[in-house]
């Protein structure tokens, strides 16, 4: 049976599983819908958090980024795991003790202000939709390559599944589906990594294989990393393991810190800690979550290095007839492309003689000609065409998103393993999408509708509104997948920067500083968001120079976060302290939990 047959089996089986789980865990009340009845065991919540967190970006794009960036790619590894330490130590147990339904709910109650609540709602919705758009692209890529169906049909199929289990089961349905999705995605990630590790280095543990010697090819006997350094430098790329590669120390520092604080401030991750029984379970749950996430994140660097080895070894210097099958398979998607300079041999390098591209967006004189003319070399000499293309860094080399998906093919693994990776990619994308859509739904239905517009609403009515909003959100997300906004990758930096500059400081101060009142908190958030947003927009869209210590858009959230802290703390002594109700609320979160008060302290839902 071929790849396509296996893919249909795996994708079909996993989708059926998700639907069965949805039916079993359907809910009847808002507590079930928003926080899964607060009855999720710590380890299960850890798995659900892991699946919720590990998106198409973690599963599909991250290893690709590390593979291309080498050492500098570590900023994603450290940023996206280090954030959990902040989350576990500074936020999760306290937020669970407060016992709200959503993050804006906490912000609104702690700072007794509907303005603060509204700012938080807007941030939550913006962050969530930004993210969802990225997931839908992942779904589209997987469907178009492995099932050779139209991207739009793939997106609609994925949306239909999410629609069913999210509206039926709310948070409860999403939680238990995510538990299943975790196992699908982690199996799909580990099996090929282990198989390739054995094949290349003879070591079944990819984490050790990464530091082992090659047992195959012309590099036999050399260490894998040593070989990658040699090959990379040979072709003009940055050395694989040398510190900072294409970036510099302070930029890497800022990006890592922004990703860490951003991770801790992402509403769809925080909300998962509302679903466990008590504070103790929230702490354990954070541990389980990072352990389960670590299984993928500790393997991704190995996958990245293996992929780098194959990417160069299997295509460089090959003629059309010698090129491996995976290259032709992926060429159809436009994500990798070879334009020969006339010598008949493929050359992938960081120099002007590079012949490998991806069909991304062209700019400048190349855009005026368009891809078709450049490939066919009409109106323009081949040499000039290559020159024009090589002048654009974004389209040089293969698209980073294909690296994880194509590596099993590069290593000639069995068809069923390749198909498993497709199912894993879909699980990663769908689990994250559903978690995000629930945040959108709860922000609107709970924080805006119930807490601000109609506090008298009956339980049944609130549940209906919750379901309605999630339904609409799924449709909007689907539209993002079908008509992808061209700016997805840039806005992701936005989501993290915004979470770091808005939610993270406001929640940390809300817990650890009793004196901070409404006005400083709102000003802090506005300054943090305003600075971060204008810096990113200025740099990405208006060509602004990175004037702030040379920090690029991705890392600016760190500065935005510092500004938020500084402004809030500077204004605090000038403004009135919070009232007694808020002080009692904070005090209650700082006391150890007794068996009786597993329930929330001062919030009455």
């Amino acid at each position: 049976m071929g790849i396509k047959g296996w893919t249909i089996i795996f994708v079909g089986a996993s989708f059926t599983l998700y639907l069965v789980i949805a039916w079993i865990s359907r809910v009847r009340d808002t507590k079930g819908f928003y926080v899964a009845g607060r009855g999720v065991p710590a380890a299960a919540n850890g798995m659900a958090t892991a699946a919720d967190w590990m998106s198409a970006a973690s599963f599909i794009s991250m290893a690709g980024l590390i593979s291309t960036m080498g050492y500098a790619g570590s900023q994603y590894l450290m940023g996206w795991t280090g954030g959990y330490v902040l989350l576990a130590l500074l936020l999760a147990p306290y937020l669970r003790k407060f016992g709200h339904f959503t993050v804006p709910d906490f912000v609104g109650d702690r700072y007794s202000s509907n303005v603060a609540r509204s700012v938080a709602v807007l941030c939550a919705i913006f962050i969530s939709f930004t993210y969802v758009a990225g997931q839908m692209r992942g779904v589209g890529v997987v469907f178009s390559r492995f099932l050779e169906v139209d991207i739009n049909i793939g997106v609609m199929l994925g949306m239909a599944i999410v629609f069913i289990y999210a509206t039926l089961g709310g948070m409860k349905g999403i939680t238990w589906t995510q538990v299943a999705q975790y196992w699908v995605l982690i199996t799909a990630f580990l099996i090929p990594a282990i198989a390739i590790s054995i094949k290349l280095t003879g070591n079944p543990l990819p984490q050790l294989g990464l530091g082992s010697e090659l047992i195959t090819g012309d590099g036999k006997g050399t260490g894998l990393l040593e070989k990658l350094n040699l090959v990379n430098e040979d072709l003009g790329f940055k050395s694989y393991t040398t510190a900072f590669g294409g970036t510099d120390m302070w930029n890497m520092f800022c990006v890592t810190l922004a990703l860490m604080a951003g991770t801790a401030g992402l509403p769809h991750v925080i909300v998962r800690f509302y679903t466990v029984k008590n504070v103790k379970a929230a702490r354990w749950s954070a541990f389980w979550a990072l352990l389960f996430i670590g299984m993928l994140y500790l393997t991704a660097p190995a996958t990245a290095a293996f992929a780098r080895y194959y990417m160069i070894d299997s295509i460089n210097g090959k003629t059309q007839a010698e090129l491996p099958e995976w290259f032709e398979n992926w060429e159809k998607t436009g994500l990798i492309l070879w334009i020969d300079d006339g010598d008949g041999k493929l050359r992938y390098s960081a120099r002007a003689d590079n012949e490998v591209f991806n069909k991304g967006r062209l700019t400048g004189p190349a855009a005026a000609l368009g891809w078709d003319k450049l490939i066919a070399s009409q109106d323009v000499e081949r040499k000039t065409a290559l020159q024009l293309l090589n002048a654009q860094p974004k389209i040089r080399g293969p698209d980073k998103d294909i690296i994880v998906l194509a590596t099993p093919e590069m290593a000639n693994l069995y068809a069923w393993i390749i198909a498993l990776v497709a199912a894993g990619g879909l699980a990663a994308a769908l689990s994250t999408a559903s978690g995000l859509l629930l945040v959108v739904s709860s922000s609107i239905a709970h924080d805006v509708y119930y807490r601000m517009i109609n506090p008298e609403a009956s339980e049944a009515k609130r549940l209906l509104v919750g379901r309605g909003v999630i339904g609409i959100a799924v449709v909007i997300a689907g539209l993002f997948g079908i008509y992808p906004p061209g700016f997805v990758s840039q806005v992701v930096a936005f989501a993290f920067g915004l979470a770091a500059a808005s939610f993270f400081p406001v929640i940390v101060l809300g817990i650890f500083n009793k004196r901070v009142g409404t006005i400083p908190a709102i000003f802090g958030m506005l300054v943090g968001i305003g600075f971060t947003a204008s810096y990113i927009i200025g740099q990405v869209y208006l060509g602004m120079e990175p004037w702030c210590f040379g920090i690029k858009a991705q890392g600016i959230g760190t500065i935005g976060m510092l500004l938020n802290f500084i402004v809030t703390l500077a204004l605090t002594p000038l403004c009135s302290p919070p009232d007694e109700r808020v002080c009692a609320l904070v005090d209650s979160a700082r006391r150890p939990e007794t068996p009786e008060d597993a329930g929330p302290a001062a919030v009455d839902h």
Binding site: M78, V85, L89, A243, F244, F287, S588, R590, P592, G599
Partner: protein
């Protein structure tokens, strides 16, 4: 309950210091210098950035969960006694009974 909160904050600060030293220190700031040493087949700075830091992060949360849950048990008894003698002022806040 001042004692509980103080111990809690101390544990947190120590663990966060390790977090910053390993993640941002060994993984970024000292990585270049650490790369001159090697561990197995890895340059040390590179290992910290791609493996070591994540392993340390997992251990930090594990230690935190164990220490804090133990601290909670220690003080939970004390808290109950307090609440029996003085009817807690915040008791009216305990609105929603759980499960």
């Amino acid at each position: 309950m001042q004692g509980y909160w103080r111990k809690n904050v101390t544990i947190m600060i120590v663990l966060l210091a390790i977090w910053a030293f390993v993640g941002l220190g060994c993984g970024v700031l000292f990585a270049d210098w650490l790369n001159q040493f090697s561990l197995g087949g890895f340059p040390l700075g590179f290992w910290f950035a791609q493996q070591g830091s994540i392993i340390v992060f997992i251990l930090l949360i594990l230690i935190y969960a164990i220490l804090l849950n133990r601290l909670d048990n220690e003080y939970a008894g004390e808290l109950e006694e307090q609440e029996i003698t003085a009817t807690a002022a915040s008791a009216d806040g305990n609105g929603e009974p759980e499960e």
